[in-house]
């Protein structure tokens, strides 16, 4: 079920492609809105700050001018009720895109999302649908700290009725957004602040990146690294480190966390015999525990040998603001490479990968 990895990170030029050009993740999102809002008059976009001159890091710039104040508008600071408003409008046949500038703020609207959004179609036996997109951003760096850096996708994966996607590159950002807008269910659309400025090859035309299909971003025979959201960038860098010592890592981006494409992940793990999941979140009851448990269940069911399994993610602490502590809070290309190295070479085999060139993390400047 793997998909051709034909439009990836900015530093990977696709072999033969027409109708694409290099644009930023955030511009790819903007294009998705523009194309979908043009196509379907029921699509509208709202949330705090969507119509100001910064336009949600540029992702909503110009949309109000083009589609009017009825279809693009800001709201009061009322996340809970505004989520209910989005759900109600969705029940009425509209397709709202509700924007949160931080995933942390979604804790304010869990009731609407979980008790109404996720359940309405089921509880009312199909009498209503809730075609809702909830855009939400994970923050990082420059002292965002405990309340502006959380990645809470596991909370949503736990709930039947919700879908969760977390594209890591511009191509998937556009395609997943279009798919999310057309989906008849509430989709939690997880963006990452550090990905916004990253370029990728993106088709001009409109297209859907279907949910439930993982992407093999890099092939390799020695170890499978499944990475989520911004950790895909770190995993791709780790892959390069590993290559330098002769280890070929296969890097997989699940793209959609729920539905989850275990087939692609297992195909790879069978080949490499090693599966390392790097979540951009806490581990406990997280996406990483789910992926590992599913791997386990699949192997047991088919009585095949279990690959070596491991997971990495945020430290089990609140995210501190100061850089030296933030640095150890997150997995990075070097800690990922070291972990993969040990999985390949054997327990206790330690290796310190070289320091990366300047990354999007270093490049990020505040205030926010």
């Amino acid at each position: 079920m793997s998909m051709p990895a034909n439009a990836l990170q900015g530093d990977r030029v696709p072999e033969e492609q027409k109708g694409v050009r290099l644009i930023r993740y955030v511009d790819a999102l903007r294009e998705a809105f523009e194309q979908e809002m043009t196509r379907d008059p029921h699509v509208f976009l709202f949330g705090l700050d969507v119509d100001d001159h910064k336009g949600i890091q540029g992702s909503t710039l110009g949309l109000q001018e083009k589609f009017g104040k009825d279809r693009v508008f800001c709201t009061p600071l009322s996340e809970d009720a505004m989520t209910g408003v989005a759900i109600g409008a969705a029940m009425a046949g509209y397709r709202p895109i509700h924007v949160h500038i931080r995933m942390d703020f979604m804790l304010l609207c869990m009731n609407q999302l979980v008790n109404m959004g996720a359940k309405a179609h089921y509880m009312y036996n199909g009498q209503v649908k809730v075609p809702l997109v909830v855009r939400t951003m994970i923050g990082r760096s420059w002292g965002q700290g405990g309340q502006h850096s959380q990645a809470l996708h596991a909370l949503f994966m736990h709930i039947p009725g919700l879908k969760v996607v977390a594209p890591s590159n511009a191509n998937d950002a556009k395609g997943c957004m279009i798919a999310a807008i057309r989906d008849n269910n509430p989709v939690i659309f997880v963006e990452h602040r550090l990905l916004y400025a990253v370029d990728g090859y993106v088709p001009y035309e409109s297209y859907e990146v279907p949910f439930g299909k993982a992407r093999v971003l890099q092939e390799g025979d020695d170890v499978t690294i499944v990475a989520v959201s911004h950790m895909v960038m770190e995993a791709l860098r780790a892959q390069k480190h590993l290559e330098s010592v002769g280890i070929q890592a296969e890097v997989i981006d699940p793209v959609s966390l729920w539905p989850l494409d275990m087939d692609t992940i297992m195909d790879s793990a069978r080949k490499t015999g090693r599966l390392l999941v790097v979540d951009n979140a806490w581990l406990t009851c997280g996406a990483s525990s789910e992926i590992l448990t599913r791997a386990l269940e699949i192997c047991q069911d088919s009585e095949e040998p279990l690959p070596a399994l491991a997971r990495m993610g945020f430290a089990f602490t609140t995210c501190p603001t100061t850089k030296p502590l933030e640095n150890v809070f997150y997995p990075n290309s070097r800690s990922i490479a070291a972990q993969a190295y040990e999985m390949v070479k054997g327990k206790g085999k330690l290796w310190e990968p070289p320091v990366d060139a300047k990354t999007e993390i270093d490049a990020f400047k505040g205030p926010f």
């Binding site: 009720a81 009312y124 009498q127 209503v128």
Partner: protein, 321 residues
């Protein structure tokens, strides 16, 4: 002057609600209805006064105490009874029960068991109706009903602020029975002046403190007409009322002594069903009573005969295609 026709019409609606619920209370000990029932007995005039002026394509939204508005808005009675029986033919296939009644074909938005939740949802529906009217030319109106307790949830203020800001075609109706489960208003509201507070959002407010079905209906008729024809919403209506039976379940719980019997007796005197019956001739009353009995019996028979959902149905409608 009230026409006999109107009186008979409202009487029948209120009676249908009361008899239906009292029949439920009667059936309840048999465990045919395995659902937590929040009865509106004594409060029927609000549902009827509120829903009567609505068109079929207008929308009503409510909480778990939703039998009365479901019936008043014209929801399918047989499917309602079947839902309470947990049957496949129920309005939600048996998956929802008493607290989540829904009938979209009659403009009845699904109810919710979590206090307050439906207020923003109804508001969002009104936003959609405002958008839709720009192409259809017809302004459909949304009514959001909730209890006094519902106004204590922060989302109520968030929702009405937004509705007032966008001038949405929605009417908020607070059924103020001064109780949240067993807790009186005095223990929950710093001050009893909800209308005054809501008015600070620039919202028109109306307060009706005797549950008079005609007053409620008239206020609603004007409000609906106003919104239908370009008037700027929202509109807020607070209706005092009294819950005769226990918060949830079939019992009269006055013997539990958490509320005053005097108040109950006062409210019984204002009972709109008795009042309207007295305005009609005996034959009409009898005819209506018979009709109501027959409708309820038919609903009960339908529910009893209907099959339960099959185990596979557990997995239908988890995701919409």
């Amino acid at each position: 002057m009230l026409s006999q026709e109107l009186v008979a019409h409202l009487y029948k609606k209120m009676l249908l609600i009361r008899r239906f619920e009292l029949r439920l209370a009667e059936v309840y000990p048999t465990d045919a209805v395995k659902s937590p029932i929040h009865l509106s007995v004594g409060q029927e005039s609000i549902a009827v006064g509120v829903c009567d002026p609505l068109a079929e394509d207008d929308i009503i939204s409510n909480t778990y105490r939703c039998h009365a508005t479901y019936i008043a808005k014209g929801g399918n009675l047989q499917e309602m009874m079947a839902e309470l029986y947990g049957k496949q033919t129920g309005c939600a296939g048996g998956k929802a029960g008493s607290m989540h009644l829904v009938d979209m074909s009659h403009g009845i938005l699904g109810a919710s068991a979590v206090v307050g939740t439906t207020i923003p949802v109804a508001t969002g529906y009104a936003l959609a109706m405002q958008m839709a009217a720009k192409t259809t030319g017809r302004q459909r109106v949304v009514v959001s009903v909730f209890g006094d307790g519902g106004t204590e949830e922060g989302c109520f203020y968030e929702a009405i602020n937004f509705a007032a800001l966008r001038k949405l075609p929605i009417i908020y109706v607070c059924e103020n029975n001064r109780l949240a489960i067993h807790t009186p208003l005095e223990k929950r509201w710093a001050k009893d002046n909800l209308c005054e507070r809501v008015a600070t959002y620039g919202i028109q407010t109306y307060k009706i403190d005797d549950a008079d079905v005609f007053k409620i209906r008239e206020t609603m008729t004007k409000a609906v007409e106003y919104l239908r024809h370009g008037g700027e919403g929202p509109i807020f209506l607070e209706c005092a009322t009294y819950r005769w039976l226990e918060h949830v379940g079939p019992r009269d719980d006055h013997s539990d002594n958490y509320r005053s019997l005097d108040e109950y007796l006062d409210w019984k005197e204002k009972d709109q069903i008795v009042r309207l019956a007295a305005m009609l001739d005996d034959n009409t009353v009898q005819r209506i009573q018979d009709e109501v009995t027959a409708e309820i019996q038919a609903a009960e028979a339908f529910a009893a005969q209907s099959p339960y959902p099959t185990a596979e149905e557990l997995y239908t409608h988890v995701y919409a295609s």
